[in-house]
């Protein structure tokens, strides 16, 4: 039993910290601190910055251009990125499609697509969920019919995050409607410039544009864009959903939020005294700080286990459930700390008129937006079902 990092890991942490200190442009960290939506330009430039260093594709093996990091190194990188208020890496190409192509793709697909992900030439988005298939993903209805050397897609995808920036989409489609649900699904790569595709924004609860609907009408996709075998898509989907779960607890982001909440509570006044001196608010902060401190260890314990076993186990669902609850509680505190000054619609007021301190004007919007975290990526209810079966065996 030893909670310390090895000297090599400590040195790695220093290296990452120094890299961010020296190379992350202030405008990027300022934009992250401000809490609004990031521009495509910022995300592109951040990716380029990491790619130049060889750190962009943290989960990829070296043979494909990844840094060859251990899970612990990836964890350290994520912590330090949060600490530096770096943007998040957009996961669709790097954390999702990349590993899929590495495992299921042809050599030709790997050679073609992977470098374009790293270079930023392709921005991928995800075509998984459908209006009628949320938690029950396998019930998806979007059809792809083989027609010569093409598939013809008809149907609709939804919750396509940052699709407005993307030029490619990977989709789960139904290629055989006559077999058991899970057995008739395929995984297709689709150029968004193909005729018949329409992407429409979905405005979210807080007013932001983050997700989209994608409509497919007789969209012809070359058969070579099939990944894996026809009707093997469910295997790929499951691989993708369980593959990259090391950052599922969002510990780094919660540490960031905790720091923000504490700074805010020292700054804002309530009843003539700094809010942090209000014992009820201070108790809320301390309570979630304790839960987060425990979650850090829970996360490391499961990381350690995953590293030993070679893959994360079903117990990572605990990280998803508790991690999102902690993150949401912190966003609640950040909003609560502001009192009425949380209420103005973000972006309407100049900084000198905004009653909220700088960087806090989006706190209510972030609270509402953050409710998604317990819904997407397998809702917390689905995670409880998984744990019921796997850990409790009920």
């Amino acid at each position: 039993m030893d909670l310390s990092f090895t000297p090599e890991e400590q040195a790695f942490r220093e290296e990452v910290r120094t890299f961010f200190a020296e190379n992350l442009p202030k405008e990027m960290s300022d934009a992250v601190r401000a809490g609004g939506e990031l521009t495509k330009d910022i995300m592109d430039r951040y990716h380029a910055l990491l790619n130049a260093k060889g750190w962009l594709a943290s989960t990829w093996p070296e043979e494909f251009g990844g840094p060859g990091w251990s899970p612990v190194q990836r964890h350290i990188f994520e912590e330090e990125a949060c600490r530096a208020y770096a943007p998040r890496i957009v996961p669709f190409g790097l954390a999702m499609l990349g590993p899929v192509l590495q495992k299921f793709g042809t050599k030709a697909q790997q050679d073609h697509y992977l470098p374009r992900i790293l270079s930023g030439e392709d921005w991928w988005c995800q075509g998984y969920s459908e209006p009628g298939a949320g938690s029950d993903l396998a019930s998806l209805k979007t059809r792809a019919v083989r027609d010569g050397d093409h598939y013809v897609i008809n149907g609709q995808k939804t919750w396509t995050t940052l699709g407005q920036h993307a030029n490619w989409i990977f989709c789960l489609v139904r290629t055989d409607p006559d077999v058991k649900q899970q057995e008739g699904i395929s995984f297709l790569l689709v150029d968004l410039a193909t005729p018949g595709i329409e992407m429409r924004p979905i405005k979210l609860i807080e007013g932001g544009h983050e997700v989209n609907e994608v409509f497919f009408t007789d969209v012809r996709v070359p058969a070579e864009n099939l990944v894996g075998k026809e009707n093997q898509g469910w295997t790929i989907a499951k691989f993708l959903l369980t593959h990259e779960r090391t950052n599922i607890a969002g510990v780094g982001f919660s540490m960031q939020s905790l720091e923000e909440v504490k700074a805010l509570a020292r700054k804002v006044m309530r009843n003539g005294r700094p809010l942090i001196e209000d014992p009820l608010f201070a108790a809320r902060v301390a309570q979630v700080e304790i839960d987060l401190e425990a979650m850090k260890l829970t996360n490391l314990r499961m990381l350690y286990k995953a590293q030993k076993q070679g893959a994360p186990g079903p117990e990572t669902s605990i990280l998803k459930i508790k991690g999102t609850v902690i993150g949401q509680e912190l966003k609640d505190l950040a909003r609560r700390a502001l009192g009425p000054s949380a209420a103005p619609f973000p972006g309407m007021l100049s900084a000198n008129l905004d009653p909220a301190p700088e960087d806090a004007a989006h706190n209510a919007a972030r609270y509402f937006n953050n409710r998604k975290t317990s819904i997407f990526g397998g809702s917390n209810e689905i995670q409880r079902n998984i744990l019921t079966k796997t850990m409790l065996e009920l």
């Binding site: 969920s129 009628g132 949320g134 938690s135 029950d136 019930s139 939804t158 919750w159 979905i202 405005k203 979210l204 609860i205 807080e206 007013g207 006044m269 309530r270 009843n271 003539g272 209000d278 009820l280 608010f281 809320r284 609640d332 909003r335 609560r336 502001l338 009192g339 009425p340 000054s341 949380a342 209420a343 103005p344 619609f345 973000p346 309407m348 007021l349 008129l353 009653p355 209510a364 919007a365 609270y367 509402f368 409710r371 998604k372 317990s374 819904i375 997407f376 809702s379 917390n380 209810e381 409880r384």
Partner: protein, 353 residues
Amino acid sequence: MDFDLTEDRQMLSDSLTRYLREKYPFEARNKAAYEAPYHSQAHWEALSELGTLYALAPEEAGGFGGSGFDISVVFEAMGGALCPEPVLGALMASRLLSAAGVDQDALLSGAEKYAVATGEIDAWYGLDAIGTQAKPAGDGYTLSGRKSVVYGGQAADQLLVAAELDGKVALFQVAADAASVNGYGMIDGGGAAEVILEDTPATLLLADAAEALADAANAGIVALCAEAVGAMDVLQQMTVEYLRTRKQFGVAIGKFQALQHRAVDMLTEIEQARSITIKAAAELGGPEAARYASMAKNLIGRAGRLVAEEAIQMHGGIAMTWEYPGSHYAKRLVMIDAQLGDTDYHLSRVMAA
């Protein structure tokens, strides 16, 4: 003991509810709530004509209501429709004008819109730390200071402003066009303003306004609690309806017991919220008004957050969208906590009592 509405109040409730449902449906509400001036003058006038504002004042002030139950009937109906009209300001101003013995015909007819400006960036909920200062000037006074997040301020004709005068909190009336009123929209709809006062001319209404402001706050709290109950009822109904119709894994998700039990817990907290609101309404104007107002606002703050968060979670993604009305109910229920004192502020008041 009688938990039924009087015939008059039932009629008011019905007519308001019907108006809001038929004439101010959700698309119209969202347009008014999120586009300047963050309410609708036409609907304001129509609601005024229905007697909404008269119901908030007693006969001696020219109204036909003014009790806690009159207030809760009006605001529960408004909450059910998420009505963004600045009626709360009218209610609180009416209490203050009554206390000052000032005529309020223009308020009750809806001809003039009032907003009450007490909160400041360093003094949101109490009166102790108010920084706005009053100075005698000629026959009257001038005010200097900043009032923050003045609900309804963006649309107000008149502002009632709390300011320090001779070591006491006094109440002044300021014509909105005499001040720098910077209006904006709110994340949950409706509007507010930052009001900058710089030697702004003002009329003194009450030299010692603490008691009147406390009464106005208590009335405002009853209103907000009733509004929340109205909104919770609707959001609960939406959620249950969604549970009945949305299918996953081949069955309606309302068949999943974990969701059933959580929906029951929502129902339970809503009934508790309704109860404490009735109690606060009954005590309004009496010696225990502040205590029960604090109890109510605390419970509403907790229940509102629970109902909002659980409704979103049980809906799933759809309730995360702007297009789905439920998301706006959820926002209102969360944000209402920050008006007139939040969960913790009011818990502290109950603890101190």
